[in-house]
Symmetry: C2
Subunit: 422 residues, 2 copies
């Protein structure tokens, strides 16, 4: 008989059906036993009355995979399966922690060591369903605006974007590196498609053990040409985030979690870097915002503007990568921005240089030769329009959305300084 | 003035508009000059009559980026821009080959060396627009069937799936490897979501220099639980390919290319491996199909079944990975399949083992210890349903669709034995 999902049971009241899933929990009462079966749509209760079947259920372990044929019966708060027949598809060893409790109480390292089991907990699953919905919203928003999805190399010849934090590879006996971002490629592809995005892994040999850094994460990269300046990029970012949040909001899993959806105004408030330093009482000579500053700014944005998001614009050129476009009115300030989401940096973006001579000058000013950048500079030598873009860290987005305390809670199989398995 | 696209010009007949793009071509006739501007939507003709503007156009190089304000006028076969004003956004060096000719005549290595320019050719662009549409169709088909998109680690602790062809990384001083596939992770995640897919890079240290192998390619990976056997997987694959082809067919770029869309029957024909060997006149002891065999089978499928696709089923267990499920009726044959597309292997898939003891036995039979597989085996130890899946090589799909002769023609920035840039 064709399997149906537990969520479809109410449509089959009184009928004989087959469901299949994991033994989520057993309740062995005196007169009757209940088997709670979990499938991808939720939970179903199976009522076991016959003594022989009860013996089978007693012998089963949680997380074993079973198929149950039975009749759908009404109960006060829904439906259940009665007169069941049971077929075991896979027997399981007892799980290292209980999945049927409301929360997972094991320590994070234990949960990560046993990700194959821990991820099955309904709350954990939900985080990743929301993550997938967010990525779907990212893509559909951009698809509707003429962007083309691209796939770029993750193995690169030189550690160009920033010399540090790069993983070295043996590439057929030659040195190569894992790409820290698709930055150079997405700019090059503005020359081809004008508007591109990529969803893919990026790699940072991050030597710090923090709650928000990973050695591999999923970067949602966007780049677009024919902009006036960084404000056009900020407008696309705002609409993209709004599309991501809409998609999350439409996801049934968001209701399950009782998720407080963040407020995103039609225009996200923006504060100049110098004003931001003054607002948090930091010295005007600070080259960057510390995490505590970001938190204070996030609170200010919510209080003053009713926004969970805040742009910080006009970062000093000295702290931004060489391809950053300066603010034409203030050459030491950049047309680069960060976006804070609930007081954490979520997005970095800005306008880039687009003229070849400007690249040559920018590299010279940093004491770098153009040689390592030859194939990148080829794009500018042959004509790129004014352009800019941004990159959203997917795991950080989900982390802030769910108000998780550690990015590893919202990463399927995290990679960091210490963790290379599972 | 707000920029419009060249494709929007007919809607603005008689109006003053601004367009922007690349100088695709200039035609300098005696009495008049034409500037052909290329943007992401196509080409536009700008008529230059004034002597001073003509001098500017003469000084311009192809691929420079310009903004043109002008009036939209009718001409016999469409519209053009008259009374133009010109603003140069980026000056370009002359391109290493002409982009305005119908085809690119430079050699493939030259085109790949200058990918930043070559990819701008309208025919090249089109291939990648179709590729993006195909991936969109892949996702939307699976999204509608309850699949969850996942992102898995590309850095792994051991070269488990096959010892060979793996890139080694220095991972914080420890040895690690680039993932050859998300195989182990997608199986593990069947235990969480039942149905998952991933679009991501996979890495093969492929020592052979062929027209169809790359060191990095985009793998479209699918895995699903609660199947009867591999035939359920084949049905999902058929529907997924059909969704991909529908999406490609809806893409305006497909019409531009005059693409011959492949025929995909409601049920793709399937031939048993032993019968396939007999059909092509190969020895029944052959362990695998040679490329020439695949070509012959592709021709046979088109001739006999009117299908550009052909399943080959029942591959010998000896040639399939250890996680392959045997055919219960013939233990030396597998429930694994390949899918040929126009005579080239496009997809590998099958039913996998799902019970923990079967994995222990399968590894023992191959003389492998379970130790290197501990975190993978954790998923089976704790209950996985019968499951299977497949992986489609995106670049190969597009290669066969466009009948390209080299997979590098349909890869933005290919990586192979010799090529690490751009």
């Amino acid at each position: 008989m064709q399997r149906i999902l537990s969520s479809q049971l109410p449509e089959h009241l009184g009928q004989r059906v087959t469901i299949a899933g994991w033994v989520h929990r057993r309740r062995l009462l005196k007169s009757v036993a209940f088997l709670i079966l979990r499938d991808r749509s939720g939970l179903a209760q199976v009522v076991v009355s016959s003594p022989s079947l009860r013996a089978s259920v007693e012998a089963l372990t949680e997380e074993s995979v079973v198929e149950v044929a039975g009749t759908v019966a009404a109960r006060p708060d829904g439906v259940e399966i009665v007169e069941p027949e049971l077929r075991v598809l896979s027997e399981a060893s007892p799980p290292p922690f209980d999945l049927y409790r409301p929360g997972l109480t094991a320590s994070l390292p234990t949960l990560l060591d046993h990700a194959a089991v821990a991820l099955r907990h309904p709350l954990r699953q939900t985080a990743f369903r929301l993550s997938a919905a967010a990525v779907g919203g990212f893509r559909s928003t951009l698809d509707q605006s003429g962007f083309v999805e691209v796939h770029t190399p993750k193995i690169v010849a030189s550690a160009t974007e920033s010399g540090a934090n790069v993983f070295a590879i043996d590439y057929f006996g030659r040195p190569a590196y894992l790409a820290q971002s698709p930055q150079f490629y997405k700019q090059t592809l503005v020359g081809v498609f004008e508007r591109v995005y990529e969803v893919g892994p990026v790699f940072r040999a991050e030597p710090h053990d923090t709650v928000r850094h990973l050695a591999q994460y999923t970067s949602l990269d966007v780049e677009l040409g024919f902009i006036r300046d960084h404000r056009d990029v900020m407008a696309v970012l705002r609409d993209t985030l709004s599309g991501m949040l809409d998609a999350v909001g439409r996801c049934p899993a968001a209701a399950t979690l009782g998720l407080a959806m963040p407020a995103i105004p039609a225009e996200i408030p923006a504060i100049d870097f110098a004003d931001a330093l003054a607002l948090v009482g930091a010295s005007p000579d600070e080259p960057d915002l510390a995490p505590a500053h970001e938190r204070a700014l996030g609170e200010w944005a919510l209080r003053e503007h009713g926004s969970d998001f805040l742009f910080v614009t006009g970062y000093p050129m000295a702290k931004r990568p060489f391809y950053t476009h300066p603010d034409p009115a203030r050459p030491t300030a950049s047309n680069g921005f960060d976006l804070l989401f609930r007081g954490i940096e979520l997005v970095t973006g800005g306008q880039r240089l687009h003229r070849y001579p400007d690249y040559v000058a920018a590299l010279a000013a940093r004491g770098e030769s153009t040689e390592a950048y030859e194939s990148y500079l080829d794009a500018f030598r042959h004509g790129l329009p004014p352009h800019g873009g941004f990159a959203i860290g997917l795991e950080r987005f989900v982390m802030r959305l769910l108000e998780a305390t550690n990015v590893r809670e919202v990463t399927l199989f995290p990679r960091d300084l210490h963790r290379l398995t599972p």
